[in-house]
């Protein structure tokens, strides 16, 4: 080979060397770059991993520190982890024993739980699962659980976690509320009173009685106001009703109005409006309670009419008694006068028998006069109005002592001053006069004594008129209070006095009775109800 050729080969080799070197240099650079990138990536990765760890642990920390019970379980329901409050709530500790949550579910909720788990597996989360569970100590609790599935890197489910909320109390309250609401509903639905709830006068709800009362359906009522149901919206009571309702000044008021039923008939009803206010005192609702008083009103009117009739017939009876008494007394006066004249004019011509007969005639006339007066008094004792004022009974007894015949051997005393009571003065006079008058004339002792005694109970005054007279046999104790029943020896007795006493005592819701033994005196007692 010649040198030129050698030279050429050398040069070629030289170029190749150069090219390789260059390639090596490039490779080296690239490799360096690659290294750098790898390094950076690694670093970034580390950083990320760190971040992830922090997040995970803080995540876990959050759950562990959560107040509600928190549990992680495997897919066979075995507890893997649980927080303190879960341990406290369930009474189990997973570090000390194996817990299978499926065993805790109350038997009534097993089917529902199985379905719920299916949903959880399919969807990955389960919200508001509610069931009853049995705790370690046997108590049953209502719980609400929100849970989700935990997956591994390859998206394969490996566990589930859940937060438990104890809703037992909440449930109890709800049940109680529901129960109360039910009871309240029963009351409202079955109430004979019409009840409607209104907002701004508009009816928003009404019970069946309300619909029935006025003949409108619930739906029809909803477009109405209470005032629309009034028969006459323009009368005084209606206008006053609306004014009071709108003014909202009173929380409770009532009116009586004529209502128009859907069929046109009218009823008289009492309406009571109660206002329900919210926390701020704003009117929330107005409750209208309507009571049909048509029948009541009719009865009231009937009663009034009856009372009026009764008053009239009482009045008539009294007048009648007066007329009869007058018409009977007039001829008696005549007979009495003529008898006197015969006695006066023909005194010399009459023998003793004739004179005696004329005296007897006058006596009979006198007792008949008394009888008529007694009947009049008896009939008016019942019918005339009681004019109840303050009556000093000491004065009454004194007046009686002055006006009636008291034998000389008899003394009427008041051992302890009598009270001043609220009663009808005339009636009190009649009452005491009849008993005292009876007592004083039925005393056979040398020193006759009649005492007027009283005692007081919460509701009654009790008076006793005690004498040391002849006494009344026990078999007559009831009879003496009946009209025309005279048991005394005295011929003048009309048998009316004590029946007047009984009538007056009856009018004061009292009682009258007698304690007496033949020869040992009589004690008349009566009570009068205290008037306010």
């Amino acid at each position: 080979m010649d040198s030129k050729e050698v030279q050429l080969l050398k040069k070629a080799l030289e170029r190749q060397k150069k090219a390789r070197k260059q390639a090596e240099r490039i490779l080296e650079t690239k490799s360096k770059e690659l290294y750098d990138v790898t390094y950076h990536l690694k670093q970034a990765n580390n950083k990320l991993e760190g971040l992830l760890n922090v997040k995970t642990s803080s995540f876990e920390g959050a759950f562990i520190n959560i107040i509600d019970p928190y549990i992680v379980m495997d897919l066979e329901f075995n507890v893997i982890n649980m927080n303190v409050s879960a341990k406290e709530f369930l009474g189990y500790d997973h570090t000390k024993e194996d817990i299978n949550l499926s065993k805790l579910v109350h038997k009534d909720y097993i089917n529902y739980t199985a379905e719920s788990i299916k949903v959880l597996m399919e969807v990955g989360i389960l919200k508001n699962y509610r069931s009853k569970i049995v705790l370690k100590d046997g108590t049953e609790k209502f719980v609400e659980i929100n849970s989700s599935i935990i997956y591994d890197k390859s998206k394969k489910p490996i566990a589930a976690q859940g937060i438990i909320r104890d809703i037992s109390q909440e449930n109890e309250i709800k049940q109680l509320l529901a129960e109360q609401r039910k009871q309240l509903d029963i009351i409202v639905q079955n109430s004979p009173l019409g009840i409607a709830l209104t907002i701004n006068s508009k009816i928003i709800k009404a019970n069946p009685a309300f619909s029935l009362l006025l003949g409108y359906s619930n739906t029809e009522l909803k477009s109405l106001e209470i005032i629309d149901l009034f028969k006459n919206k323009q009368d005084v009571t209606s206008l006053e009703f609306v004014r009071t309702l709108k003014s909202k000044e009173t929380d409770n008021f009532s009116t009586i109005n004529n209502f128009s039923k859907k069929n046109g008939k009218s009823i008289l009803a009492k309406t009571n409006i109660s206002t329900v206010r919210d926390n701020r005192g704003e009117v929330e609702f107005q409750v209208a309670i309507i009571e049909d008083i048509t029948q009541q009103k009719i009865l009231e009117l009937q009663k009034e009419e009856l009372l009026k009739d009764l008053e009239n017939s009482n009045q008539e009876l009294q007048e009648y008694a007066h007329i009869v008494s007058h018409d009977l007394k007039s001829p008696l006066r005549s007979i009495s006068a003529i008898t006197s004249w015969i006695k006066e004019d023909y005194y010399e011509m009459l023998d003793d028998n004739g004179k005696n007969n004329l005296s007897l005639l006058q006596d009979k006339v006198e007792s008949m006069d008394k009888l008529i007066s007694g009947i009049l008094e008896y009939s008016t004792a019942n019918s005339s109005d009681l004019k109840n004022t303050k009556v000093d009974l000491n004065k009454i007894v004194e007046e009686i002592k002055e006006s009636i015949y008291i034998p000389k051997n008899v003394e009427v005393i008041i051992p302890k001053s009598l009270p001043t009571i609220k009663a009808d003065g005339t009636k009190m006079y009649q009452l005491f006069q009849n008993i005292i008058g009876n007592a004083v004339v039925h005393i056979d002792k040398k020193n006759g004594l009649v005492e007027v005694i009283f005692k007081e109970t919460e509701d009654f005054w009790q008076f006793s008129i005690k004498d040391n007279g002849v006494g009344i046999a026990e078999k007559y104790h009831k009879k003496i209070f009946e009209i025309f029943q005279s048991v005394g020896e005295k011929e003048r007795s009309t048998g009316i006095g004590l029946s007047i006493v009984k009538k007056i005592v009856d009018r004061y819701d009292g009682k009258v009775w007698v304690d007496s033994k033949i020869g040992a005196g009589t004690n008349f007692h009566f009570t009068l109800k205290k008037l306010i």
Binding site: H322, S325, R333, S336, A337, S340, L376
Partner: protein
Amino acid sequence: MDILFIEDDQVERMKLQRTVSKLQLKHNITEAKNGEEALEALKSNPKLPDIILLDLNMPRMNGIEFLKILKADESYKYLPTIILTTSQNRADLLECYRIGIAGYIIKPLKYGDYESKLKKVLDYWNTNELVKA
């Protein structure tokens, strides 16, 4: 005194006459059996009575009806009118005083009592100064 005595009962009229004559009182008694008769008696006699004794329960026109007419009349209303009745009805008594009366006497049962009561009434009015017509 001139007395107008309005009374439907014959025996009552006899009682007054007897009382007046027995006590030897010089009174001139004009009798009327009811309110209507009494009004006629007042109209027919130009001289009015000094007092009127009036019963309440009478037929045709009773005492209260008569009293009302009397008290509504300008010349009659000054006549002292004394009720002489058996009625113890308080409503009657109040009504009479409301319309205007000079007295209310209840007839006692016994004639003797009647006499003494009437003597007092007549003596009292006899002592009074009277509106002589």
